[in-house]
Amino acid sequence: MCYTGYNTSIASHTMAERRLGLILTIDFESESPIYMQIRDQIVRGIGSGELESGERLPSIRALSDDIGVNPMTVSKAYSLLKQEGFISSTRKGGSVVSEKIPEGGLDDEKKLALHTVASEARIRGMGEREFLKLCSDYYRGGA
């Protein structure tokens, strides 16, 4: 079987992330900083239900050992997630998915990002129904 269909790293990366579960895929060649890749994928994991509230995350050192990056990079991702309320610290110094994630919808920055994605979909000829179906799938946490 040939995999010639996967021509771009972006396409393959997207597919990989759609099946995310608890698997993080870090692309060192990506323009997106590594801490943002970690943050985004953990958020998607929480959204899809693969990471449940109260579930323990690996320690900063363990995760940085696995990715092969400086612990500061993972620490930055975790700090951001804590600041946004997605994860919280335990008494023992570990990190867990927050029991109560603050509600309130998307902030302006996220709305703007969604706006950009929707515009791009339209420009590239994606139908509204198809786009909404994709959004719906992601919203429900499916692939």
């Binding site: 079987m1 040939c2 995999y3 010639t4 996967y6 790293s9 393959s12 990366h13 597919m15 990989a16 099946r19 579960g21 608890l22 698997i23 993080l24 895929t25 870090i26 692309d27 060192f28 060649e29 994991g45 990471l51 579930e55 323990r56 995350l57 690996p58 050192r61 363990a62 995760l63 050992d65 696995d66 990715i67 092969g68 990056v69 400086n70």
Partner: protein
């Protein structure tokens, strides 16, 4: 050929078949990796791939058989021990490099084929981390489990004072401490393996966890195995300290046991990896880009120095890292320097031992071993017809040359430079050192001793007269 020859022949000769087995094993798919190249499961039955693998295996067998024949010839044809050893060390480099060369060649061919056929995984060149496996990662056993072997290894250090002759207690204790050091080293290194990256196949968390567990179990067996194998050595040496043959046999058994342990664990891990990863999904981890020739890890974005090999449980160094370069460079340098050590031994074995004297002093010279002793400093001058049992502290020990520092029974620490096959031996004792040597024949040694003893006695007489 003497005992040392058989020892070297066996310990070096084993490299060829062992290397052969390990490289052969790498040609069987594990984690979809064949000879360092990752393919999708479907591609593993590709005729072109199997042809390259088959060619590699045939070349490997030819190379290993040739290497074994060459080693045998070295030991049959070379007359001197040091020459045999030097050629064997050159052979050792060839035995390491030749399979690597064959592997690299096959790896390059497979990589080209992979590119031509467009085999590509969605996870190619991505760093994949399985959070679930990491969360449930096994914890290392408490290091207190290393204490029993450590205590056993330290027992002979205490007992030696009561059991062994005084003159060998110090050297014996130093030797036993080396085994305790090995155990401490295992104790310190053992927890570090739990900080290594997990094994990742793809999205199948259970397989990821199982593979990581297999590796950790393997390393746990190795470190505890080393500790328990090293623990009783001191006690065994203490009971058999009178027999040099027993000493060598124990040492050989110890080395062989370590080797067998390492090989069994490595092959066990490989076999389990093979079974677990027989059928894999479409999304498999492919990090070929980081592995030069499938053997040398080079990833500037990875801050790790030590990296898990993808197949088996060994480790490699990250050659993009400064310390990785230092370790690899030092290893290569040591390997290349070994034959030069052999050249030094040739010089030692074949250079004549020369001694001279005049009215006031006696001198001796052999390669780097030399001394000049004034008669007035000599406390004792003696011709030994037999060499007492000697234990090497450091230096050279060949069938026809003992040179360096030795602990000599009944005499104590002494510097030797002699051929043990041609007695007698001249012993000169001063306040701070003891020299024992002989010349190239028994007649030379005896004749030299008689003439020198006369000169020495004459000097003593003259000195006594002056003093009176």
């Amino acid at each position: 050929m003497g005992f040392a020859d058989y020892l070297i022949l066996f310990s070096l000769g084993i490299i060829a078949p062992l290397n052969g087995i390990l490289f052969w094993s790498s040609s069987k798919p594990k984690k979809n990796i064949v000879l360092g190249v990752t393919f999708p499961t479907e591609a593993l039955s590709d005729r072109a791939i199997n042809l390259i693998v088959k060619r590699f295996r045939i070349n490997l067998i030819i190379a290993e058989v040739f290497l074994l024949f060459a080693l045998l010839m070295i030991f049959v044809l070379a007359e001197y021990f040091s020459v045999r050893l030097t050629l064997a060390l050159v052979w050792m480099i060839a035995a390491i490099v030749l399979p690597i060369f064959l592997f690299a060649k096959a790896n390059t061919e497979l990589k080209e084929l992979k590119l031509e056929e467009g085999y590509r995984s969605p996870l190619q060149n991505l760093r994949v981390v399985d959070l679930k496996t990491r969360q449930n990662f096994e914890k290392p056993r408490s290091v207190k489990w290393f204490l029993p072997p450590l205590i056993v290894s330290l027992l002979p250090v205490i007992l030696a004072k009561f059991i062994l002759p005084k003159e060998i207690v110090r050297d014996f204790s130093i030797m036993c401490s080396m085994f305790s050091f090995m155990i401490v080293l295992s104790m310190l290194l053992y927890p570090l393996i739990f900080r290594q990256r997990m094994d990742i196949l793809g999205y199948e968390s259970e397989k990821n966890a199982e593979l990581s567990r297999i590796r950790l179990q393997g390393w746990t067996t190795v470190w505890f195995g080393i500790a328990w194998l090293s623990a009783p050595l001191g006690l065994l040496f203490m009971f058999f300290y009178k027999s040099e043959t027993a000493f060598l046999i124990i040492l050989c058994v110890y080395m062989a046991a370590m080797l067998v342990l390492a090989i069994l664990v490595e092959m066990g891990v490989r076999s389990r990896q093979e079974k677990i990863t027989l059928a894999m999904g479409e999304d498999y981890v492919d990090e070929d880009v980081n592995w030069i020739y499938g053997l040398f890890y080079h990833n500037p974005r990875d801050r790790h120095v030590l990296i898990n090999d993808r197949v088996g449980m060994n480790m490699s160094v990250n050659m993009a890292n400064f310390w990785g370069k230092v370790i690899m460079g030092a290893t290569v340098l040591i390997l290349l320097a070994m034959p030069f050590f052999g050249v030094y031994l040739i010089k030692q074995e074949l250079s004549p031992r020369a001694a001279g004297f005049d009215d006031v002093s006696v001198s001796f010279k052999h390669v780097s071993e030399r001394f000049n002793i004034n008669y007035e400093d000599i406390l004792k001058l003696e011709l030994l017809e037999e060499l007492p049992r000697s234990m090497r502290v450091y230096g050279t020990g060949m069938d026809e040359l003992l040179e360096g520092k030795f602990t000599v029974e009944g005499i104590g620490r002494a510097t030797l430079s002699l051929n043990p096959q041609i007695p007698p031996y001249i012993m000169i004792k001063t306040e701070d050192k003891i020299e024992i040597f002989n010349l190239m024949s028994s007649e030379d040694t005896r004749g030299f001793f008689e003439r020198m003893e006369r000169a020495y006695l004459e000097f003593k007489t003259q000195s006594a007269k002056k003093a009176a």
